[in-house]
Amino acid sequence: MKNFSTGRLPQSRRLESGFTLLELMVSTAVFLVIGAAAFSLFSSHAPLFTRQQNISGLNINLRNAVTQMELDVVNAGNGYYPGADIASWPVGLTVNNQQPSTTCYNATAHTYSSTCFDTMNIIGVDGSIPPTHPNPPGNSCGATDTSSILFVDPPPSTEYSGSPSQFASLFHSGDQLLIIKSDGSQMATTTLTQDGSLSGAKVRLQHNPTGASTTDPLGITTFFANSGSADTQNKLGNTFCQSDWVLKLSYTTYYVDATDPTNPKLMRQQSTGTTDVVAEQIIGFKVGASLWSGTVSGDTFTFQNYNYNSYDPSQVRSLIVSLIGRTTPNRTGDLTYKNSFDNGNYQIQSLSVVINPRNLSMNDH
């Protein structure tokens, strides 16, 4: 057996000879050298490639968000009823700046909480509901700050084809109303606490008394209510008569939802009740405003503390929105990478945009 085996070996070797050992070693060595060079080139490019892919995606996200915001902000203050001679259109944009705080941001875990971010409300008139007049009992004037019931007339048939009860059904609990003097000098806002109902020939609207912050979640009249006698223009009204106007508002609010602090999301909430995510991984959302100063060259953007009670929102003429987004943390393909903004292992990108609402900024010129 052993003899047979040794006897066959040389024969088979002769039959199937390919490379010599030397040839194999040389070719393997050459392949290894070139392969290693190619691989190292590849591996040094792969994180770069991932980074660029991430940042392209981020860029598209931010652009989408900004475009959506531009569409909304440009139309702020729309639906203004031409019959009402409103000197300075009172509703358009309200901004609530958060006070900067070091606690809103965790520099180690790279998490963000909602106090880092601003809120922006874009307010217009709900175009699906025609404007109407208050019609208090006795055809006199009604006080909206003490009374919690507002009677309004159904609009004339030329403006609204439905029945009065159909008109009443357009008002729902939670709707935001704007009540404004016929000359535009004074206004008030309130939130409905019940659905509209028909009472005789009038529509009965139950609401919170005006002038309180609970009735004004969008900050439309907060400044006027809080400035008291300092409000020399006296824009907060509480007595409205039959020639005045009741308008249902539609609004869009942009805010950052940081309930998941590892992924703050820019949200767009509409008065219809729908809330959409506009962009994920937003780590900066600040809104600055330019107030009408009488001359256009005097318009400068400030991010001063525009909380609802510190500025006259009827004077907001232009907005600057600064948005900072990041790529999903720790997915750069390079674990040692740190960005130069907050040292997180992700890319960041900022985008700031100036938006002039057509209904607000063009009227002064």
């Binding site: 000879s17 070139i34 190619a38 003429r317 130069s340 907050d342 900022s350 985008l351 002039n356 010129h365």
Partner: protein
């Protein structure tokens, strides 16, 4: 006998020669290098699209600003057929028809500095903790590392495309960092 058999099998069943193997490796490595080249090219064009995106935002920003001026404002006034130029920097009195914007992200802040048509610099600085400030200065801020610098020029043409309107065209160019293809963006708007 043994030697002749060896030669015979070698002729009929031989493998690759060293030369053939080297040839194959050469082709393979050309392919790999081409792939690597493609990746760096993707990186460049991806950066370019990002710079372009910022350029387009800055261009629309300038248009928005020019759109806000009243009809009679000297900033958008046209005496002849046009004011300003997008091919060169033009000034008229104290009014410039060009400006610069620089954006940088260093030292824990993002700053954007805009030079206006009067030579004032407005710097907006944003930090992770929600701090945002806007400061105006008459002197140019010190150049920062990792800065993108954009140069903007605009031209206002009277009675174009129809009588009674003005066409404003803004041209934006990235002046640094140099990449393979230049980053430029141009956009127009018609206003009264």
């Amino acid at each position: 006998m043994a030697a002749s058999q060896f030669n015979k099998t070698r002729k009929s069943q031989r493998g690759f020669t060293l030369l053939e193997t080297l040839g194959a490796i050469a082709i393979l490595s050309i392919g790999l290098l081409a792939m690597a080249g493609l990746m760096s090219k993707t990186t460049v064009s991806s950066s370019q699209s990002r710079y372009m995106s910022a350029a387009s935002i800055l261009a629309t920003q300038k248009l928005e600003e020019l759109n806000r001026y009243p009809i009679s404002d000297p900033v958008i006034a046209v005496s002849g057929s046009s004011a300003g130029s997008i091919t060169g920097d033009v000034s008229s009195g104290s009014l410039n028809y060009f400006d610069n914007v620089q954006i940088s992200a260093v030292g824990g802040t993002i700053t954007e500095t805009t030079e206006d048509d009067q030579g004032n610099y407005t710097t907006i600085t944003q930090s992770p903790d929600g701090t945002i400030t806007s400061a105006t200065s008459t002197t140019a801020p010190a150049p920062l590392a990792e800065t993108l610098r954009y140069h903007r020029r605009w031209v206002i043409e009277k009675d174009v495309p129809v009588t009674g309107v003005r066409r404003i065209t803004v041209f934006v160019q990235l002046t640094n960092p140099p990449i393979v293809n230049s980053v430029t963006f141009q956009i127009s708007m018609v206003r009264p």
